[in-house]
Symmetry: D3
Subunit: 137 residues, 6 copies
């Protein structure tokens, strides 16, 4: 068993707020992350899959395929988008780093299973100081 990690990046807008809360309560809980006019980040995404090395190719999975899966299912939907507004798999969800990472994991897991590799984790950096990692349970 060996672990392969691919880094991808996306630049997106978001805010942290609950529609059913007042502006004051959103501000009290989420601080400047609740700015109604949005803010944004350069997100850095690390997707890790695991599997056996194919003795013929030396690969667990072709990195070109791994990159294509992540880009089509995740990056194209998030990059230069508004996470709260534009992204199908984030509708009705809090756009926290934790929730984005979990939803990316849920999107990617079946796609890698089709390629006979196991999605191990999704790590998401919101800034150089803040990151989350999700292993699927």
């Amino acid at each position: 068993m060996i672990y392969i990690t691919r880094r991808e990046r996306f630049s997106a807008a978001h805010k942290l707020y609950k529609e059913e809360w007042s502006a004051e309560r959103n501000e009290a809980v989420f601080g400047n992350c609740s700015n109604p006019n949005w803010h944004g980040h350069n997100y850095e995404l690390f997707v890790t899959v695991k599997g056996q090395v194919n003795p013929e190719t030396g690969f667990v999975i072709d990195l070109k395929l791994m990159k294509a899966i992540i880009n089509e299912a995740v990056i194209l939907k998030l990059d230069h988008r508004n996470i709260n507004v534009d992204v199908d798999f984030m509708q009705g969800k809090m756009a926290s780093t934790e929730v984005i990472a979990i939803e990316i994991f849920n999107v990617l897991k079946p796609l890698f299973e089709q390629e006979n590799v196991c999605l191990h984790s999704v790590k998401l950096h919101e800034t150089e100081n803040n990151s989350v990692e999700y292993f699927g349970n």
Copy 2:
């Protein structure tokens, strides 16, 4: 003469578009940067001043003061904000990296002159691959 550089960071939303243009023309010129729902970045700002070393302190300028000037005049206005909507010195201007850097330079220049140091340049990274630098003329 010696040059001192301070790095600061801000996370902000923006878009590239002209109100007087159609959505189609904005899309044709600015691509996905014109997404009407905004996107955003972790901007990395490098401010460089130059001056003589004070022989008593070994400083050109106290970095705590330099940091305070940049934070009060620039970072507080941009961080967790929408550059097109929320920032006084960007009103009515294109929110391209070039223009943001020029406007930051114009805001900071007189503030450093009051401290008897000369603002040399403002470098602004929008992503790890794209940056601009402005020297004031």
Copy 3:
């Protein structure tokens, strides 16, 4: 269960030596790390906690709180300090990266428990090439 990591930094002096050893033996075992006049590092600290996502906020823990806990209990005591001399939780201990990481873990563990999250690991970089990670047992 999801994992959240916060990076903080501190700049500190230290040396590796044992009082009860001769200068020669300290030099033989610890090399230039035993310089009696001290040396120092920009330490980079990664604190990881784990927990369930609060469905209301999308958070495991508010990162502002996480940052405040780490800063008050660890960074304020270490930053711009001498680790061997100035730091209460390092008194009488070897100031190796291993021991510093273990002691930081021991300081932080009960503080995060009070916030109902579990401290997962403390990773400490002494230089860009050397780091340690401690998981509490």
Copy 4:
């Protein structure tokens, strides 16, 4: 138990290809990685060992010794070399990042056992976007 990681780097040429395949099939499977005239990378290697802290020194293992083991057994053989042609432990193997990491692990494991520490993992970055990690089984 605590984990120590040492980063080392090497610059090497390689290609992905199978002698018994035609140029066309190599190109179809391995793309531009199969260029017959080679290409190359600055590989970044992270070796992690684990063990108990020696209470006398505060060390799991002296990092100078850890560095010397990795350099003598791995870096000297790979740095400024052709991985397919020049490296004894890669003879007859695919020079994929996965296989290189596995072989480095197999070379290092007994050497660290002689020093009474356990090799935990070998992580190898081929580019800033692609990496693998191997834990030995």
Copy 5:
């Protein structure tokens, strides 16, 4: 006048040697860089152009165009290639970082002139420790 920098990357093989010298003299002058079986690097290229900001777009040059120019004229020829063997603009030249940077500058200068911006400099990192910068004279 403002300066725009675009970072691109390429992974390539090369060696430093002179055909007309003996293996011994190549080894004496170029050390392990002269390995006849090649070695390689992840090169990091920073291309800087300068010009006036177009008041309508806020751009000196559209970064998508800048990226396309660099990729078509430089990256496609160098990435996953052997610099000594495969690259037209390096034929008969020493594949030192200095010479590669100068030749990239010479290739790009007229292409940017056609777009009415001035190529200011080409910076090329061979490793994280070694880089060169060329300004065209």
Copy 6:
């Protein structure tokens, strides 16, 4: 004319203080940088020289020689040292980043002149956020 930059690193202790000032005044001017028990940094040093490319070697200067000059004259004296106490060329001087950079420049300039290359600048990073650059006048 082309510019070559070599990065080196050193880890050192220092403090900012004036012997002839009271502890209170040192604290007022230099803040926690004046801690009498010292603190320290991982300094990152970028030395840039400029010259013509030797058409025979493709080099301005052999980077192995450049590295040896910097290491012997600067790094060996600073690394794992106390800048205020242990370093001959810093005796009686303020250990600010500005002054350290100027003194390194003054040490290196004649050594590179002996090799017929011109020292262009010394850039010194004290932390990831603070750096200075000195060009010799």
